[in-house]
């Protein structure tokens, strides 16, 4: 029997599904039409082209339609849709709805296909004679991406995963779906993972996806060049797009690491996690490809390498998507997606483009303009080629290790990645980085075709010596020399690349300004490496505690992420020494979903004098709907030359035995008399005015006694009396006031104790001893382990700003290069048009 469900909003989902199917159909039509347009020999017949363009535009509009419908569902909190229910909640601010949009895998594919649609439209207006073959490839990729969103069953297998799946159809089994009004029980969505509620999550995914999507453009040009036998021309056309893709992809990756640094708690900006590695595979090969494309343009060498690297880059984009979405990384990665049942579909996607690339390379092998002549040894083209090959090798190593789970799955083996994985990556990738940076340096002193060897050697060696001197100095000052020698070599290479490209930049500013782009980008890259090297290599755990606590023999040798004894526990209002800081946990404040912990830092010099004081508020994010424990978010004090990075690693757990977290504390405050269990056995002190009571954390002074005390709502009769004790509590250099009251009302004695929570005290005036002119003060102390505390970890990252500054400089370099290559393209096409006109 068909159930009629109440309260569902089915229209946006139905519309969305129609748009998804339309986008698929239009992309398919566009791809086929472009193919026929490209192979049509009748130059005057524009009908295929017209149809292809219209279909592509329909595809673009449908994708926008899908996006609008999905956003409409999220915006209106239609939790009958699985996507809205899984990733958003009513309390989520609108700007985070945007990141909810690409929270799921379906949203990721949508974003990807959207960017590809945009790029396609750019190509339609700009590609000219290249439009037909290039767009055939782009439209084909668009077809495959559209299938990822279909979510329909074809011959028993599910094709794609629809973002418009209803909650009751999503395979979740629950009895409420048997009721027509089930929706009235679903009050709110699961909410977004609090870690994603961060501004970086609004801009990082679109940037990364634009980067990944734009790799298709140079790929499509390479395929088109081979297919249409326009072997030489495609390279010039594709250079600006390859630059653009490398730029955006690089920026996207760096944004991801900034996000990790700012809001995740693994303590750094790069962890060699498989998902992170996967995002730089295509970047490495594309950068390599870009360099050999320029080599081919200037010298006619390295044609095959350029084509191969460009083709590989796109295949790696697809492989990246496969790795992070197929669930294959489950055992090695912390943040891979789980399998949505698209394993074989993702593999098919790779195979389609792999087979196409291989087939074209093989069938056109003999016709390719591969130079028969050998490059000169002292020529720029030869060493740029070597550099590109090393970039490829570096990528090969990353792919090889990251894919260990794939090898295990394919060959049925059970190999685990190297134990010290981070160290392994650092050393091997460091070796590649050294080679690449040195090449980035001296290749700039070489010219295309042939170079004056003596002059080259003199310049090279001068800079080598200078770089070596600086490396020794920097390595010694930062302590980098204590690490594996490879890192000193990387430092040397980077300093050398910086200096050599600095020289090129100075020359460029004097005249040949068009050369500035590459020099600036290389300088930025060198600075990035220096920054990453020093900050990650010589980062210091400020919160390291040694020896104290439960002793575990043989444990100090353990290393890696769980390095021993990196956490420090601090009680509220009890200052503790941490490195050169005196830190005090002052309290916490809640602004849902954040809970901030105020920690005061006093930086002390050798004599113990305070030289700097500041407040850091590391927080934890909670999401009750997701039922997970709070996620810590770091707080960082940024200096120009280093960062102090801190995050909370543990908090007291609220249990019946240990009710000292926020809520329990508040409850105890109200239930006045029921909080005895919170305190140690009270200690009575008999004191007169001016006397001092010493206790564990400081002392208490009885300042005065006063008769004019009022206790709320208790009127005093003529025979009644009330006495207040004005006490001053000094704990850890902080002063508090408290005035407990002793009252006789209707011949009964009442005491009104006062609490000083920040000092972990409760004070009561329990007896008046008129003969001795003394009173009895009862001191209740909170036992240490019931006092509020936090456990945190603090790291110092030296020179991390070099990494970010280098990134910005590299971006500038890329932009300069793109504008230069674009201008070149325009002048060459203008010259060509002119010569065509003259010939006619």
């Amino acid at each position: 029997m068909d159930m009629v469900y109440k309260g569902e909003h089915l229209l946006p989902g139905e519309l969305g599904k129609v748009f998804v199917i339309l986008s698929f159909g239009a992309a398919l039509l566009s791809a086929i039409s472009y193919y026929f347009a490209a192979t049509n020999t009748d130059k005057l017949d524009k009908s295929w082209l017209r149809m292809a363009r219209i279909a592509y535009r329909i595809n673009t509009i449908s994708i926008l339609g899908v996006g609008v419908q999905l956003f409409y569902i999220l915006y209106n909190n239609y939790f009958e849709y699985h996507y809205a229910w899984s990733y958003t909640s009513r309390s989520l601010p609108v700007y985070y709805l945007v990141s909810g949009f690409w929270n799921g895998q379906e949203g990721g594919f949508l974003l990807w296909t959207f960017w590809q649609a945009v790029l396609g439209n750019v190509l339609i207006s700009r590609a000219g004679s290249w439009e037909k073959p290039v767009m055939s490839v782009v439209a084909l990729s668009q077809v495959v991406l559209a299938t990822m969103l279909l979510g329909i069953d074809v011959f028993g297998a599910r094709l794609g995963s629809s973002p418009f799946l209803l909650l009751r159809e999503s395979g979740i089994e629950a009895p409420i779906f048997k009721q027509a009004d089930y929706l009235s029980y679903i009050k709110d969505g699961q909410g977004m993972n609090p870690l994603l509620q961060n501004y970086w999550m609004i801009i990082h995914p679109p940037t990364l996806f634009l980067g990944l999507a734009s790799v298709v453009v140079p790929f499509a040009y390479a395929i088109a060049g081979l297919w249409q036998r326009r072997y030489k021309e495609w390279i010039n056309q594709a250079i600006p797009y390859a630059l653009f893709a490398s730029l955006i992809l690089g920026v996207g990756v760096i944004m991801g690491s900034l996000w990790a640094y700012e809001s995740l708690n693994f303590g750094g900006f790069w962890a060699w996690d498989p998902v992170e590695n996967a995002s730089i595979f295509p970047w490495l090969t594309l950068i390599g490809g870009l360099h050999v494309m320029i080599v081919y343009k200037n010298s006619g060498h390295s044609y095959f390498t350029a084509t191969l690297l460009v083709l590989i880059s796109f295949i790696l984009v697809l492989y990246t998507s496969f790795l992070s979405r197929s669930g294959v990384l489950g055992e090695t990665s912390v943040h891979a997606f789980t399998d949505l049942g698209m394993f074989s579909q993702l593999v098919t996607y790779i195979l389609i483009f792999l087979v196409l690339s291989v087939w074209l390379l093989v069938s056109r092998w003999k016709e390719m303009p591969i130079s028969k002549k050998d490059e000169e040894t002292y020529s720029r083209e030869f060493w740029m080629f070597v550099g590109a090959v090393f970039l490829g090798l570096s990528c090969f190593h990353l792919v090889f290790i990251t894919s260990i789970p794939v090898w295990n799955k394919a060959f049925g083996t059970k190999i685990a990645p190297p134990i010290d994985l981070v160290g392994h990556y650092n050393v091997i990738q460091g070796a590649f980085a050294m080679v690449i940076t040195i090449l980035t340096g001296f290749t700039q002193f070489l010219k295309y075709k042939k170079t004056d060897v003596t002059r080259f050697f003199i310049t090279t060696l001068i800079y080598f010596a200078l770089a070596a001197a600086i490396t020794v100095l920097v390595g010694y000052l930062t302590g980098l020399y204590k690490l594996h020698f490879v890192f000193m070599l990387v430092l040397f290479g980077s300093v050398y690349a910086f200096l050599a490209n600095g020289q090129v930049l100075v020359d460029a500013l004097k005249g040949k300004f068009k050369l500035a782009g590459s020099a600036v980008a290389h300088i930025g890259f060198a600075l990035m490496l220096i920054g990453a090297l020093i900050s990650a290599g010589t980062r210091e755990v400020v919160s390291q505690t040694d020896g104290a606590g439960i002793n575990i023999p043989g444990f100090d040798k353990a290393s890696g992420m769980g390095s021993p004894r990196e956490n420090i526990m601090i009680y509220k209002n009890e200052p503790k020494r941490m490195g050169k800081f005196m830190i005090t946990y002052l309290g916490d404040s809640v602004a849902a979903p954040n809970r901030y912990f105020k920690v005061n830092y006093k930086e002390l010099d050798d004599k113990g004098k305070v030289v700097d004081e500041f407040l850091l508020k590391p927080n934890v994010l909670t999401n009750p709907q997701m039922g997970s424990e709070p996620s810590p978010v770091p707080a960082t004090k940024h200096y120009l030359f280093h960062d102090l990075y801190t995050h909370v690693t543990a908090l007291p757990v609220a249990t019946a035995k240990n009710p000292n977290t926020g809520d329990a504390q508040a409850a105890a405050d109200h239930g006045q008399e029921n909080d005895e269990t919170l305190y140690d056995e009270p200690v009575p002190h008999q004191v007169g005015v001016g006397d001092t009571i010493r206790y564990r954390d400081g002392y208490i002074v009885l300042k005065s006694l006063s008769r004019e005390v009022q206790v709320q709502n208790i009127p005093l009769g003529p025979n009644d009396a009330a006495i207040g004790a004005n006490l001053e509590v000094v704990a850890h250099d902080r002063t508090f006031k408290a005035a407990p009251v002793y009252m006789i009302k209707n011949k009964a004695v009442l005491t009104f104790p006062r609490k000083v929570d920040d000092a972990g005290l409760k004070l009561a005036l329990t007896k008046i001893i008129p003969n001795e002119n003394k009173v009895e003060i009862m001191v209740y102390q909170q036992p240490l382990n019931k006092r509020p505390y936090i456990v945190m970890r603090a790291l110092d990252f030296p020179f991390i700003n070099l990494l970010w500054a280098g990134t910005v400089i590299m971006i500038i370099g890329f932009i300069l290069s793109i504008s230069r290559r674009n201008k070149e393209l325009k002048t060459t096409s203008a010259v060509k048009a002119q010569s065509v006109a003259e010939n006619a």
């Binding site: 899984s86 999503s170 979740i172 629950a174 409420i176 029980y185 679903i186 699961q190 489950g330 055992e331 912390v334 789980t338 050998d374 040894t377 080629f385 490829g392 090798l393 090889f400 290790i401 059970k414 190999i415 685990a416 990645p417 190297p418 134990i419 392994h424 091997i428 505690t545 104290a548 606590g549 439960i550 575990i552 023999p553 043989g554 444990f555 353990a558 290393s559 890696g560 992420m561 769980g562 390095s563 021993p564 004894r565 990196e566 956490n567 420090i568 526990m569 709907q625 997970s628 424990e629 709070p630 996620s631 810590p632 690693t649 543990a650 007291p652 240490l784 382990n785 505390y789 456990v791």
Partner: protein
């Protein structure tokens, strides 16, 4: 011979050495009994024994966390980690420990958890929602 061919040969040599270096350094997923027979660090895959106590008391030592894990062969062992309790540790379905055996305890230097997949989680959450409807 062409220079690019020489470069090609060098590249192949490096690629092979990378593979060999990785293979010789790569470890295997083992069990606690494997760990007892070696002094090297290795990886153990297993499940958290949720019936036994997870011990972490920051007031005694902020860098000591102990728990019990049953490896894939069914053997159980006490594990000690010098750090804080990882977030949502109790919810883990599978744990990959990196470390070595010291005496009768396994000292982990690194813990990787596999948390329940989204779809199983969905199931739990909805049954909770159902419990609420029963009250009404």
């Amino acid at each position: 011979m062409k220079k690019s061919s020489i470069v090609g040969l060098v590249v192949i040599a490096i690629a092979i050495s990378v593979i060999i270096a990785t293979y010789s350094k790569s470890s295997t997923y083992g069990s606690f009994s494997d760990a007892r027979q070696t002094t090297e660090e290795l990886r153990v895959v297993g499940q958290l024994d949720k019936a036994k106590e997870l011990y972490y008391d920051a007031t005694k030592d902020a860098n000591y966390f102990s728990f019990f894990v049953k490896d894939n062969k069914g053997e159980e062992c006490k594990v000690i980690f010098t750090g804080t309790k990882p977030q949502d540790f109790e919810k883990s379905e599978q744990i990959v420990l990196t470390g070595k055996m010291t005496g009768k305890e396994f000292h982990a230097s690194y813990i990787l958890m596999k948390c329940p997949s989204k779809y199983t989680k969905d199931k739990i959450e909805v049954t909770e929602a159902k419990a609420k409807t029963a009250e009404i």
